[in-house]
Protein backbone atom coordinates (compact mmCIF):
# COMPACT_ATOMS: atom_id res chain seq x y z
CA UNK A 1 0.00 0.00 0.00
CA UNK A 2 1.60 3.24 -1.13
CA UNK A 3 0.72 6.04 1.25
CA UNK A 4 0.91 8.87 -1.29
CA UNK A 5 -1.28 7.09 -3.82
CA UNK A 6 -3.70 6.10 -1.06
CA UNK A 7 -4.04 9.71 0.03
CA UNK A 8 -4.47 10.91 -3.55
CA UNK A 9 -7.18 8.39 -4.23
CA UNK A 10 -9.20 9.01 -1.07
CA UNK A 11 -8.58 12.70 -0.41
CA UNK A 12 -11.73 13.94 -2.17
CA UNK A 13 -14.06 11.92 0.03
CA UNK A 14 -12.23 12.92 3.23
CA UNK A 15 -12.51 16.57 2.24
CA UNK A 16 -16.20 16.13 1.51
CA UNK A 17 -16.76 14.45 4.85
CA UNK A 18 -14.81 17.14 6.69
CA UNK A 19 -16.92 19.85 5.09
CA UNK A 20 -20.10 17.99 6.19
CA UNK A 21 -18.79 17.68 9.74
CA UNK A 22 -17.85 21.33 9.99
CA UNK A 23 -21.20 22.55 8.63
CA UNK A 24 -23.88 23.61 11.10
CA UNK A 25 -26.19 20.70 11.99
CA UNK A 26 -29.13 22.18 10.06
CA UNK A 27 -27.02 22.84 6.96
CA UNK A 28 -25.15 19.56 7.11
CA UNK A 29 -26.94 17.84 4.25
CA UNK A 30 -28.11 19.88 1.30
CA UNK A 31 -29.85 17.01 -0.46
CA UNK A 32 -31.13 13.49 0.06
CA UNK A 33 -28.16 12.34 -1.97
CA UNK A 34 -25.78 13.94 0.56
CA UNK A 35 -27.60 12.38 3.49
CA UNK A 36 -27.51 8.92 1.91
CA UNK A 37 -23.85 9.26 1.08
CA UNK A 38 -22.85 10.07 4.65
CA UNK A 39 -23.11 6.59 6.23
CA UNK A 40 -21.27 5.10 3.24
CA UNK A 41 -18.53 7.69 3.55
CA UNK A 42 -18.32 6.95 7.29
CA UNK A 43 -17.87 3.22 6.70
CA UNK A 44 -15.27 3.84 4.01
CA UNK A 45 -13.35 6.13 6.39
CA UNK A 46 -13.49 3.39 9.02
CA UNK A 47 -11.94 1.06 6.47
CA UNK A 48 -9.33 3.67 5.52
CA UNK A 49 -8.41 4.05 9.18
CA UNK A 50 -7.91 0.31 9.59
CA UNK A 51 -5.85 0.20 6.40
CA UNK A 52 -3.69 3.12 7.48
CA UNK A 53 -3.10 1.53 10.87
CA UNK A 54 -2.40 -1.89 9.48
CA UNK A 55 0.15 -0.67 6.96
CA UNK A 56 1.86 1.59 9.49
CA UNK A 57 1.16 4.77 7.59
CA UNK A 58 2.24 8.10 9.02
CA UNK A 59 0.95 9.17 12.41
CA UNK A 60 -0.63 12.39 11.15
CA UNK A 61 -2.65 10.50 8.57
CA UNK A 62 -3.87 7.96 11.15
CA UNK A 63 -4.68 10.84 13.48
CA UNK A 64 -6.66 12.64 10.80
CA UNK A 65 -8.62 9.52 9.84
CA UNK A 66 -9.26 8.72 13.52
CA UNK A 67 -10.65 12.21 13.97
CA UNK A 68 -12.83 11.85 10.84
CA UNK A 69 -14.16 8.47 11.96
CA UNK A 70 -14.91 9.52 15.55
CA UNK A 71 -16.65 12.74 14.49
CA UNK A 72 -18.75 10.99 11.84
CA UNK A 73 -19.69 8.37 14.41
CA UNK A 74 -20.76 11.23 16.68
CA UNK A 75 -23.11 12.52 13.98
CA UNK A 76 -24.38 9.14 12.79
CA UNK A 77 -25.18 7.70 16.20
CA UNK A 78 -26.59 10.80 17.86
CA UNK A 79 -29.88 9.79 19.44
CA UNK A 80 -32.63 11.08 17.23
CA UNK A 81 -35.55 12.55 19.05
CA UNK A 82 -38.84 10.74 19.47
CA UNK A 83 -41.94 12.88 19.24
CA UNK A 84 -42.09 15.16 22.23
CA UNK A 85 -45.41 13.76 23.41
CA UNK A 86 -44.28 10.13 23.41
CA UNK A 87 -41.03 11.07 25.11
CA UNK A 88 -42.85 13.00 27.81
CA UNK A 89 -45.34 10.21 28.48
CA UNK A 90 -42.46 7.76 28.73
CA UNK A 91 -40.53 9.96 31.13
CA UNK A 92 -43.55 10.61 33.33
CA UNK A 93 -44.51 6.96 33.64
CA UNK A 94 -40.87 6.04 34.29
CA UNK A 95 -41.02 7.84 37.64
CA UNK A 96 -43.50 5.67 39.59
CA UNK A 97 -42.01 2.56 37.97
CA UNK A 98 -38.51 3.50 39.13
CA UNK A 99 -39.84 4.20 42.62
CA UNK A 100 -41.50 0.77 42.81
CA UNK A 101 -38.33 -0.88 41.53
CA UNK A 102 -36.37 0.59 44.45
CA UNK A 103 -39.17 -0.10 46.92
CA UNK A 104 -36.82 -1.43 49.61
CA UNK A 105 -34.64 1.68 49.66
CA UNK A 106 -37.74 3.87 49.56
CA UNK A 107 -39.19 1.95 52.52
CA UNK A 108 -35.98 2.43 54.52
CA UNK A 109 -35.98 6.17 53.80
CA UNK A 110 -39.69 6.45 54.65
CA UNK A 111 -39.10 4.67 57.95
CA UNK A 112 -36.10 6.82 58.86
CA UNK A 113 -37.87 10.08 58.03
CA UNK A 114 -41.18 9.39 59.77
CA UNK A 115 -39.51 7.53 62.63
CA UNK A 116 -37.25 10.45 63.42
CA UNK A 117 -40.16 12.88 62.99
CA UNK A 118 -42.10 10.93 65.62
CA UNK A 119 -39.09 10.72 67.93
CA UNK A 120 -38.44 14.44 67.49
CA UNK A 121 -41.96 15.51 68.32
CA UNK A 122 -42.24 13.27 71.41
CA UNK A 123 -38.83 14.40 72.59
CA UNK A 124 -39.74 18.09 72.27
CA UNK A 125 -43.20 17.59 73.82
CA UNK A 126 -41.54 16.20 76.94
CA UNK A 127 -39.36 19.27 77.35
CA UNK A 128 -40.06 22.27 75.05
CA UNK A 129 -36.64 23.82 75.74
CA UNK A 130 -35.05 21.02 73.67
CA UNK A 131 -36.54 22.42 70.45
CA UNK A 132 -33.72 24.94 70.02
CA UNK A 133 -31.18 22.11 69.98
CA UNK A 134 -32.64 20.91 66.68
CA UNK A 135 -34.05 24.12 65.23
CA UNK A 136 -31.17 26.41 66.15
CA UNK A 137 -31.08 29.33 68.57
CA UNK A 138 -34.43 31.15 68.51
CA UNK A 139 -35.89 28.68 66.00
CA UNK A 140 -38.87 27.80 68.18
CA UNK A 141 -39.74 31.46 68.76
CA UNK A 142 -39.61 32.21 65.04
CA UNK A 143 -41.92 29.26 64.44
CA UNK A 144 -44.39 30.47 67.07
CA UNK A 145 -44.44 33.92 65.43
CA UNK A 146 -44.98 32.49 61.95
CA UNK A 147 -48.01 30.40 62.92
CA UNK A 148 -49.55 32.85 65.37
CA UNK A 149 -52.67 34.30 63.65
CA UNK A 150 -52.12 37.56 65.52
CA UNK A 151 -48.56 38.02 64.29
CA UNK A 152 -47.40 40.31 61.52
CA UNK A 153 -45.56 37.54 59.67
CA UNK A 154 -48.43 35.04 59.76
CA UNK A 155 -47.66 32.07 57.47
CA UNK A 156 -44.48 33.68 56.08
CA UNK A 157 -40.90 32.69 56.88
CA UNK A 158 -38.70 35.40 58.35
CA UNK A 159 -37.18 37.87 55.89
CA UNK A 160 -39.55 36.85 53.12
CA UNK A 161 -42.61 38.78 52.05
CA UNK A 162 -45.00 38.26 49.16
CA UNK A 163 -46.04 35.04 47.43
CA UNK A 164 -43.54 35.38 44.58
CA UNK A 165 -40.67 35.76 47.05
CA UNK A 166 -41.78 32.65 48.87
CA UNK A 167 -41.98 30.74 45.61
CA UNK A 168 -38.41 31.68 44.70
CA UNK A 169 -37.22 30.88 48.20
CA UNK A 170 -38.84 27.43 48.24
CA UNK A 171 -37.43 26.58 44.82
CA UNK A 172 -33.89 27.52 45.82
CA UNK A 173 -33.97 26.13 49.33
CA UNK A 174 -35.94 22.90 48.94
CA UNK A 175 -34.72 21.75 45.55
CA UNK A 176 -31.21 22.72 46.65
CA UNK A 177 -31.57 20.47 49.70
CA UNK A 178 -32.90 17.68 47.49
CA UNK A 179 -30.01 17.94 45.04
CA UNK A 180 -27.47 17.97 47.88
CA UNK A 181 -29.11 14.99 49.47
CA UNK A 182 -29.01 13.07 46.17
CA UNK A 183 -25.44 14.05 45.40
CA UNK A 184 -24.07 13.15 48.83
CA UNK A 185 -25.78 9.77 48.64
CA UNK A 186 -22.78 8.55 46.70
CA UNK A 187 -20.77 8.61 49.94
CA UNK A 188 -22.18 5.16 50.71
CA UNK A 189 -25.60 6.71 51.35
CA UNK A 190 -24.45 8.45 54.52
CA UNK A 191 -24.94 11.98 53.18
CA UNK A 192 -28.51 11.33 51.99
CA UNK A 193 -29.55 9.62 55.19
CA UNK A 194 -28.04 12.39 57.32
CA UNK A 195 -29.91 15.16 55.47
CA UNK A 196 -33.10 13.08 55.43
CA UNK A 197 -32.86 12.21 59.11
CA UNK A 198 -32.11 15.78 60.12
CA UNK A 199 -35.13 17.07 58.18
CA UNK A 200 -37.33 14.42 59.81
CA UNK A 201 -36.11 15.41 63.25
CA UNK A 202 -36.66 19.07 62.39
CA UNK A 203 -40.23 18.47 61.24
CA UNK A 204 -40.89 16.49 64.42
CA UNK A 205 -39.45 19.20 66.64
CA UNK A 206 -41.44 21.88 64.81
CA UNK A 207 -44.71 20.03 65.18
CA UNK A 208 -43.84 19.42 68.86
CA UNK A 209 -43.44 23.15 69.38
CA UNK A 210 -46.67 23.85 67.49
CA UNK A 211 -48.68 21.35 69.55
CA UNK A 212 -47.19 22.53 72.82
CA UNK A 213 -47.85 26.22 72.00
CA UNK A 214 -51.42 25.46 70.96
CA UNK A 215 -50.82 26.46 67.33
CA UNK A 216 -51.76 23.10 65.77
CA UNK A 217 -54.85 24.75 64.25
CA UNK A 218 -52.68 26.81 61.88
CA UNK A 219 -49.50 24.70 61.70
CA UNK A 220 -50.87 21.41 60.41
CA UNK A 221 -53.23 22.84 57.76
CA UNK A 222 -50.30 24.90 56.47
CA UNK A 223 -47.75 22.08 56.36
CA UNK A 224 -49.90 19.20 55.19
CA UNK A 225 -50.97 20.64 51.84
CA UNK A 226 -47.63 20.97 50.10
CA UNK A 227 -46.17 18.28 52.35
CA UNK A 228 -47.65 15.61 50.09
CA UNK A 229 -45.25 16.64 47.34
CA UNK A 230 -42.48 18.20 49.40
CA UNK A 231 -41.89 15.47 51.97
CA UNK A 232 -42.41 12.65 49.46
CA UNK A 233 -39.98 14.42 47.13
CA UNK A 234 -37.32 14.77 49.83
CA UNK A 235 -37.66 11.13 50.82
CA UNK A 236 -37.35 10.02 47.20
CA UNK A 237 -34.26 12.19 46.63
CA UNK A 238 -32.65 10.42 49.56
CA UNK A 239 -33.71 7.02 48.19
CA UNK A 240 -32.17 7.91 44.80
CA UNK A 241 -28.98 9.02 46.54
CA UNK A 242 -28.85 5.80 48.54
CA UNK A 243 -29.22 3.85 45.30
CA UNK A 244 -25.87 5.33 44.19
CA UNK A 245 -24.26 4.73 47.56
CA UNK A 246 -25.52 1.15 47.71
CA UNK A 247 -23.97 0.44 44.30
CA UNK A 248 -20.65 1.45 45.80
CA UNK A 249 -21.10 -0.68 48.92
CA UNK A 250 -22.50 -3.75 47.21
CA UNK A 251 -21.86 -3.67 43.45
CA UNK A 252 -23.25 -7.18 42.90
CA UNK A 253 -21.89 -8.98 39.84
CA UNK A 254 -20.43 -5.78 38.33
CA UNK A 255 -17.26 -3.79 38.79
CA UNK A 256 -17.86 -0.69 40.90
CA UNK A 257 -17.60 1.73 38.00
CA UNK A 258 -20.19 -0.22 36.01
CA UNK A 259 -22.42 -0.66 39.08
CA UNK A 260 -22.37 3.11 39.62
CA UNK A 261 -23.42 3.70 36.02
CA UNK A 262 -26.34 1.25 36.32
CA UNK A 263 -27.33 2.90 39.61
CA UNK A 264 -27.30 6.26 37.86
CA UNK A 265 -29.66 4.88 35.21
CA UNK A 266 -32.19 3.63 37.73
CA UNK A 267 -31.87 6.64 40.05
CA UNK A 268 -32.35 9.23 37.33
CA UNK A 269 -36.15 8.94 36.86
CA UNK A 270 -36.57 9.23 40.63
CA UNK A 271 -34.35 12.30 40.69
CA UNK A 272 -36.26 13.95 37.84
CA UNK A 273 -39.66 13.06 39.30
CA UNK A 274 -38.72 14.35 42.75
CA UNK A 275 -37.63 17.64 41.22
CA UNK A 276 -41.04 18.01 39.57
CA UNK A 277 -42.65 17.11 42.92
CA UNK A 278 -40.71 19.82 44.74
CA UNK A 279 -41.60 22.30 42.02
CA UNK A 280 -45.30 21.52 42.49
CA UNK A 281 -44.78 21.74 46.26
CA UNK A 282 -43.24 25.23 45.91
CA UNK A 283 -46.27 26.39 43.88
CA UNK A 284 -48.72 25.02 46.45
CA UNK A 285 -46.75 26.33 49.40
CA UNK A 286 -46.36 29.84 48.03
CA UNK A 287 -49.80 30.37 46.51
CA UNK A 288 -52.16 28.03 48.37
CA UNK A 289 -50.84 27.09 51.81
CA UNK A 290 -50.26 30.72 52.74
CA UNK A 291 -53.91 31.66 52.12
CA UNK A 292 -55.76 32.49 55.33
CA UNK A 293 -58.90 30.32 55.39
CA UNK A 294 -60.68 27.64 57.37
CA UNK A 295 -58.27 24.93 58.56
CA UNK A 296 -60.80 22.17 57.75
CA UNK A 297 -60.87 23.07 54.05
CA UNK A 298 -57.05 23.07 53.87
CA UNK A 299 -56.89 19.70 55.62
CA UNK A 300 -59.43 18.23 53.19
CA UNK A 301 -57.43 19.44 50.19
CA UNK A 302 -54.27 18.08 51.83
CA UNK A 303 -55.85 14.66 52.31
CA UNK A 304 -56.83 14.66 48.64
CA UNK A 305 -53.26 15.56 47.56
CA UNK A 306 -51.71 12.86 49.77
CA UNK A 307 -54.11 10.33 48.24
CA UNK A 308 -53.23 11.44 44.70
CA UNK A 309 -49.48 11.13 45.36
CA UNK A 310 -49.86 7.75 47.04
CA UNK A 311 -52.15 6.21 44.45
CA UNK A 312 -50.09 7.51 41.56
CA UNK A 313 -46.80 6.18 42.94
CA UNK A 314 -48.39 2.77 43.58
CA UNK A 315 -50.43 2.42 40.38
CA UNK A 316 -48.92 4.91 37.90
CA UNK A 317 -47.22 3.71 34.71
CA UNK A 318 -48.29 0.08 35.05
CA UNK A 319 -49.65 -0.10 31.51
CA UNK A 320 -46.24 0.75 30.06
CA UNK A 321 -44.45 -1.66 32.33
CA UNK A 322 -42.22 -3.95 30.32
CA UNK A 323 -41.70 -7.67 30.93
Amino acid sequence: MNEMRFIQRRESEWTWLEARLEARPRRRFNSVHDACRFPLAYRRVCRDLELARHHGMSGVLVQRLNSLASRSHHVLYASRGQTTGALLADRISAFPRAVRKEIRLVAVCLAIFWGLALVGSLWVLQDPSRADLVMGEGGADALRKMYDPEAEHFLRPRGVSGDADMFGYYIMNNIGIGFRSFSLGILAGVGSLFILGFNGLFLGAASGVAIQSGLSGTFFPFVSGHGAFELTGLILYAAAGCRLGWALVSPGPHRRGRALFLAGESAFPILAGSTVFLFIAACIEAFWSSRVMAGELKLAVAAFLWAVVGVWLVLGGRRREGP
Partner: protein, 242 residues
Protein backbone atom coordinates in the same frame (compact mmCIF):
# COMPACT_ATOMS: atom_id res chain seq x y z
CA UNK B 1 3.44 7.89 31.50
CA UNK B 2 -0.32 7.67 31.66
CA UNK B 3 -2.07 6.42 28.56
CA UNK B 4 -4.90 8.81 27.83
CA UNK B 5 -6.35 7.01 24.83
CA UNK B 6 -9.72 5.33 25.25
CA UNK B 7 -10.68 2.86 22.53
CA UNK B 8 -14.29 3.03 21.35
CA UNK B 9 -15.79 0.05 19.58
CA UNK B 10 -18.45 1.09 17.09
CA UNK B 11 -21.42 -1.00 15.92
CA UNK B 12 -19.61 -1.23 12.58
CA UNK B 13 -16.90 -3.33 14.17
CA UNK B 14 -14.37 -0.54 14.00
CA UNK B 15 -12.30 0.94 16.82
CA UNK B 16 -11.41 4.61 17.09
CA UNK B 17 -9.56 6.43 19.81
CA UNK B 18 -10.76 9.19 22.10
CA UNK B 19 -8.18 11.16 24.05
CA UNK B 20 -9.14 11.84 27.66
CA UNK B 21 -8.66 15.45 28.70
CA UNK B 22 -6.16 15.98 31.52
CA UNK B 23 -6.94 17.34 34.97
CA UNK B 24 -5.43 20.78 34.32
CA UNK B 25 -7.49 21.77 31.27
CA UNK B 26 -10.58 20.52 33.11
CA UNK B 27 -9.79 22.61 36.16
CA UNK B 28 -9.16 25.61 33.91
CA UNK B 29 -12.51 25.02 32.19
CA UNK B 30 -14.17 24.80 35.60
CA UNK B 31 -12.65 28.12 36.67
CA UNK B 32 -13.70 29.76 33.42
CA UNK B 33 -17.26 28.47 33.86
CA UNK B 34 -17.33 29.76 37.43
CA UNK B 35 -16.25 33.13 36.09
CA UNK B 36 -19.05 33.06 33.49
CA UNK B 37 -21.55 32.13 36.21
CA UNK B 38 -20.50 35.24 38.12
CA UNK B 39 -20.84 37.34 34.96
CA UNK B 40 -24.32 35.97 34.25
CA UNK B 41 -25.44 36.74 37.79
CA UNK B 42 -24.07 40.29 37.57
CA UNK B 43 -25.54 41.04 34.14
CA UNK B 44 -28.93 39.50 34.98
CA UNK B 45 -29.14 41.50 38.20
CA UNK B 46 -28.25 44.76 36.46
CA UNK B 47 -30.59 44.15 33.51
CA UNK B 48 -33.50 43.22 35.79
CA UNK B 49 -32.85 46.24 38.02
CA UNK B 50 -32.81 48.48 34.95
CA UNK B 51 -36.07 46.93 33.74
CA UNK B 52 -37.63 47.53 37.12
CA UNK B 53 -37.92 43.88 38.10
CA UNK B 54 -36.73 43.48 41.65
CA UNK B 55 -37.52 41.35 44.67
CA UNK B 56 -36.20 38.53 46.70
CA UNK B 57 -37.69 35.89 44.42
CA UNK B 58 -35.45 37.06 41.57
CA UNK B 59 -32.29 36.60 43.63
CA UNK B 60 -33.49 33.22 44.86
CA UNK B 61 -34.21 31.97 41.34
CA UNK B 62 -30.97 33.43 39.96
CA UNK B 63 -28.89 31.78 42.66
CA UNK B 64 -30.67 28.49 42.11
CA UNK B 65 -30.14 28.74 38.36
CA UNK B 66 -26.46 29.55 38.65
CA UNK B 67 -25.74 26.98 41.33
CA UNK B 68 -27.66 24.00 39.94
CA UNK B 69 -28.95 24.64 36.43
CA UNK B 70 -26.15 26.48 34.62
CA UNK B 71 -23.64 23.63 34.30
CA UNK B 72 -26.11 21.02 33.04
CA UNK B 73 -27.88 23.42 30.69
CA UNK B 74 -24.59 24.71 29.26
CA UNK B 75 -23.51 21.15 28.47
CA UNK B 76 -26.85 20.24 26.92
CA UNK B 77 -26.87 23.33 24.71
CA UNK B 78 -23.20 23.04 23.77
CA UNK B 79 -23.52 19.29 23.08
CA UNK B 80 -21.06 18.39 25.83
CA UNK B 81 -19.02 21.58 25.77
CA UNK B 82 -19.87 24.31 28.27
CA UNK B 83 -18.37 27.70 27.35
CA UNK B 84 -15.32 27.02 29.51
CA UNK B 85 -14.79 23.60 27.98
CA UNK B 86 -15.20 25.01 24.47
CA UNK B 87 -12.44 27.54 25.10
CA UNK B 88 -10.12 24.81 26.41
CA UNK B 89 -10.97 22.56 23.45
CA UNK B 90 -12.47 19.75 25.54
CA UNK B 91 -15.91 18.16 25.56
CA UNK B 92 -17.90 15.66 27.60
CA UNK B 93 -19.12 12.62 25.66
CA UNK B 94 -20.72 9.29 26.54
CA UNK B 95 -18.12 6.63 27.27
CA UNK B 96 -19.19 4.76 24.10
CA UNK B 97 -18.38 7.79 21.96
CA UNK B 98 -21.94 9.01 21.43
CA UNK B 99 -22.78 12.68 22.04
CA UNK B 100 -23.68 13.55 25.63
CA UNK B 101 -27.40 13.05 26.28
CA UNK B 102 -29.42 15.37 28.47
CA UNK B 103 -29.94 12.96 31.37
CA UNK B 104 -26.23 12.24 31.59
CA UNK B 105 -25.47 15.97 31.54
CA UNK B 106 -27.82 16.53 34.50
CA UNK B 107 -26.45 13.58 36.50
CA UNK B 108 -22.79 14.39 36.03
CA UNK B 109 -23.30 18.01 37.03
CA UNK B 110 -25.47 17.32 40.09
CA UNK B 111 -22.80 15.00 41.42
CA UNK B 112 -20.24 17.78 41.21
CA UNK B 113 -21.49 18.66 44.70
CA UNK B 114 -20.32 15.32 46.10
CA UNK B 115 -16.97 15.75 44.37
CA UNK B 116 -16.08 18.60 46.68
CA UNK B 117 -16.33 16.36 49.74
CA UNK B 118 -13.09 14.84 50.97
CA UNK B 119 -11.28 15.85 47.79
CA UNK B 120 -13.00 12.92 46.03
CA UNK B 121 -13.33 15.00 42.89
CA UNK B 122 -9.58 15.45 42.69
CA UNK B 123 -8.37 12.06 43.88
CA UNK B 124 -10.73 9.74 42.01
CA UNK B 125 -9.82 11.06 38.52
CA UNK B 126 -6.19 10.15 39.23
CA UNK B 127 -7.24 6.57 39.84
CA UNK B 128 -9.75 5.92 37.04
CA UNK B 129 -8.90 5.41 33.40
CA UNK B 130 -9.73 8.55 31.47
CA UNK B 131 -9.64 10.82 34.57
CA UNK B 132 -13.33 10.26 35.32
CA UNK B 133 -14.80 11.83 38.44
CA UNK B 134 -17.80 10.51 40.38
CA UNK B 135 -20.30 12.26 38.13
CA UNK B 136 -18.65 10.75 35.07
CA UNK B 137 -18.83 7.25 36.52
CA UNK B 138 -22.52 7.56 37.39
CA UNK B 139 -23.54 9.21 34.12
CA UNK B 140 -21.32 6.98 31.96
CA UNK B 141 -19.42 9.91 30.47
CA UNK B 142 -15.84 11.00 29.95
CA UNK B 143 -14.26 14.37 29.11
CA UNK B 144 -12.13 14.18 25.97
CA UNK B 145 -10.11 16.56 23.85
CA UNK B 146 -12.36 17.71 21.04
CA UNK B 147 -11.71 15.36 18.11
CA UNK B 148 -12.50 18.14 15.65
CA UNK B 149 -9.79 20.42 16.97
CA UNK B 150 -6.24 20.79 15.66
CA UNK B 151 -6.53 18.08 13.04
CA UNK B 152 -3.54 18.13 10.69
CA UNK B 153 -4.77 18.80 7.16
CA UNK B 154 -2.47 16.66 5.06
CA UNK B 155 0.73 14.88 6.06
CA UNK B 156 3.85 16.51 4.66
CA UNK B 157 6.50 14.21 3.32
CA UNK B 158 10.07 15.20 4.19
CA UNK B 159 12.63 16.05 1.51
CA UNK B 160 14.76 12.92 1.24
CA UNK B 161 18.27 12.35 -0.09
CA UNK B 162 18.74 10.74 -3.50
CA UNK B 163 20.87 7.82 -2.30
CA UNK B 164 19.21 5.12 -0.26
CA UNK B 165 20.53 2.89 2.55
CA UNK B 166 19.02 -0.55 2.77
CA UNK B 167 18.51 -1.71 6.36
CA UNK B 168 19.71 -5.14 7.50
CA UNK B 169 16.40 -5.96 9.12
CA UNK B 170 13.07 -4.25 9.57
CA UNK B 171 9.64 -5.01 10.92
CA UNK B 172 7.55 -4.09 7.93
CA UNK B 173 4.92 -1.65 9.24
CA UNK B 174 6.73 -0.47 12.32
CA UNK B 175 10.08 0.13 10.67
CA UNK B 176 8.52 2.16 7.90
CA UNK B 177 6.58 4.20 10.37
CA UNK B 178 9.51 4.80 12.73
CA UNK B 179 11.74 5.96 9.88
CA UNK B 180 9.19 8.27 8.23
CA UNK B 181 8.06 9.78 11.54
CA UNK B 182 11.67 10.45 12.46
CA UNK B 183 12.50 12.16 9.17
CA UNK B 184 9.30 14.18 9.34
CA UNK B 185 10.18 15.58 12.75
CA UNK B 186 13.93 15.85 12.55
CA UNK B 187 13.66 19.57 11.74
CA UNK B 188 11.75 20.33 14.96
CA UNK B 189 14.10 18.37 17.19
CA UNK B 190 17.39 20.19 16.82
CA UNK B 191 20.64 18.54 15.77
CA UNK B 192 21.76 16.96 19.07
CA UNK B 193 18.51 15.28 20.05
CA UNK B 194 17.94 14.32 16.45
CA UNK B 195 21.35 12.61 16.26
CA UNK B 196 20.73 10.79 19.54
CA UNK B 197 17.37 9.44 18.39
CA UNK B 198 18.81 8.53 15.01
CA UNK B 199 21.57 6.45 16.70
CA UNK B 200 18.87 4.53 18.60
CA UNK B 201 16.87 4.08 15.40
CA UNK B 202 19.84 2.86 13.41
CA UNK B 203 20.61 0.34 16.15
CA UNK B 204 17.21 -1.21 15.41
CA UNK B 205 17.79 -1.35 11.65
CA UNK B 206 21.42 -2.51 11.42
CA UNK B 207 23.46 -5.34 12.80
CA UNK B 208 26.39 -3.02 13.43
CA UNK B 209 25.45 0.67 13.29
CA UNK B 210 28.92 1.84 14.36
CA UNK B 211 30.57 0.06 11.49
CA UNK B 212 28.00 1.64 9.23
CA UNK B 213 29.08 5.10 10.24
CA UNK B 214 32.74 4.26 9.93
CA UNK B 215 32.27 2.63 6.55
CA UNK B 216 30.59 5.65 5.09
CA UNK B 217 33.14 8.09 6.46
CA UNK B 218 35.18 7.87 3.28
CA UNK B 219 32.13 7.50 1.03
CA UNK B 220 29.38 10.01 0.25
CA UNK B 221 27.02 9.77 3.26
CA UNK B 222 29.47 10.38 6.09
CA UNK B 223 28.94 9.33 9.69
CA UNK B 224 26.02 11.68 10.42
CA UNK B 225 23.34 9.42 11.99
CA UNK B 226 20.47 11.79 11.09
CA UNK B 227 21.49 11.71 7.48
CA UNK B 228 21.81 7.91 7.55
CA UNK B 229 18.33 7.73 8.98
CA UNK B 230 16.99 9.94 6.18
CA UNK B 231 18.56 7.55 3.67
CA UNK B 232 16.86 4.61 5.36
CA UNK B 233 13.58 6.50 5.06
CA UNK B 234 14.30 7.11 1.41
CA UNK B 235 14.82 3.36 0.98
CA UNK B 236 11.46 2.58 2.58
CA UNK B 237 9.63 5.17 0.47
CA UNK B 238 11.29 4.33 -2.86
CA UNK B 239 10.92 0.61 -2.30
CA UNK B 240 7.22 1.02 -1.66
CA UNK B 241 6.51 3.61 -4.34
CA UNK B 242 7.24 2.12 -7.72
Amino acid sequence: MTDTTLPVQTPDGMVFMLHAAGILPRLAAFWLDSFFQGCIWLVATIVCAAAGITGGWLQFLLLFGIQWVYAALAEIIGRGASPGKRILGIRAVMIDGRPLDAGAAILRNLLRFADFYGLLGFLLPLETKGFRRLGDLVAGTVVVTDPGRDVPRAPEMPVLPEEVLSPDFHRDGRGYRAATEFSRRTGELGPDLSAELARDGLAAFFRDPDALQGGHESGGGGGDPSRNMARVTAWFIRRRAP
